[in-house]
Symmetry: C2
Subunit: 210 residues, 2 copies
């Protein structure tokens, strides 16, 4: 009688430097029922990155074949490299009953939205632009020009926050992890996801089935 629950997709976007990856990493460590979708890319792996863990690293030829086969939910070319999320990578996780984080930029989320991809759209924000610039400056070895470029992109992205269902300001990692965990728990309690927990309740809730 009890149906296997299909995993919930969480589409998480944030301006670069907000701390999205750190927060998602902790969530994945703590929540047993949560996985992250792994993107495909044509860019070279960094020394710490592993195929099938951080990305699926593929050749441009392989990537283009997948585009032609309509394998991608969304893809983009950024700085001459391809990045994309395959339908398969998400559906596999969902069908196994896991919730799935889709870390994706504002443009990618817009693509998912435009194809009515059902999921929980969450936007992470820095406490301020000043703090975002601090974080970008501290963490990176990038030039001042590059940081200015990132700030310009960030401002455009932030203006899109209204297209998300939830907004979380990343003041501090643990606080943000708590808020995101709360969102994930609350989503499980949504009425339309309720499944009767006993036959006697089932007979009231779905009388035609019994």
């Amino acid at each position: 009688m009890q149906l296997k629950r299909e995993g919930i997709p969480y589409i998480i976007s944030a301006p670069s430097g907000t701390g999205k990856s750190t927060v998602c990493k902790i969530l994945l460590e703590r929540l047993a029922n949560l996985k992250i979708s792994i993107s495909h890319t044509t860019r070279a792996p960094r020394p710490t990155e592993a195929h099938g863990k951080d990305y699926y690293f593929v050749s441009e030829e392989e990537f283009k074949k997948k585009i032609e086969a309509n394998a991608f939910l969304e893809w983009a070319k950024v700085h001459n490299e391809y990045y994309g999320t395959t339908r398969h990578s998400i559906e596999k996780i969902q069908n196994d009953g896991y919730d799935v984080i889709i870390e994706i930029d504002v443009q990618g989320a817009q693509t998912l939205r435009s194809m009515s991809f059902e999921g929980v759209y969450i936007f992470l924000l820095p406490p301020s632009l000043k703090e975002l610039k601090n974080r970008l400056t501290k963490r990176s070895t990038e030039t001042v020009e590059k940081i200015e470029q990132r700030m310009k992109v960030a401002k455009k992205e932030i203006a899109e926050y209204k297209n998300y269902f939830y907004v979380v300001t990343n003041f501090e990692v643990e606080d943000t992890v708590y808020k995101l965990s709360s969102i994930m728990q609350a989503e499980k309690q949504k009425m339309f996801r309720y499944v009767p927990t006993s036959p006697d309740l089932e007979s009231i809730i779905n009388p035609q089935d019994t």
Copy 2:
């Protein structure tokens, strides 16, 4: 620039015996920003009950005056006694910036809904009818007939769960408190409740205001 947030109303219903009061009591002890709306009633206080804490105990005459003055968001006559929630009791809490629990039966919640009262509608369920009957039998000194009557009402109420936004099964108190706290935190993160946390973000989000 930062606006004072108006408190969120949580309308919580549950069949009698589900454990709603226990769970709400713990939430009120733990969440500093949460209060409960206090109803008016014409019934006599029980030995453990205090005026202004459990209920406002009023005469039938006073109650009827309030009905005429349109003071009640909703009211009902049950077993010859009046029960009602005044607009003032909720608005006062909200305006002070507190979130507010409105413990109310299915019929009362339906009244609030029919007048488009904006809030977060949550339904608590027992794990099973069998378990509900156990709880009613254990806790009460009521007759078998009275318990059967409560079970009959419970079945009707449970069939209304679809009118609520969230559904939480009360398997165990701490688990339910966790789920309700999560819902309350998640609601605060809803996009439409986002308030910019710095002037530089404000200038992006509400450019016309600056």
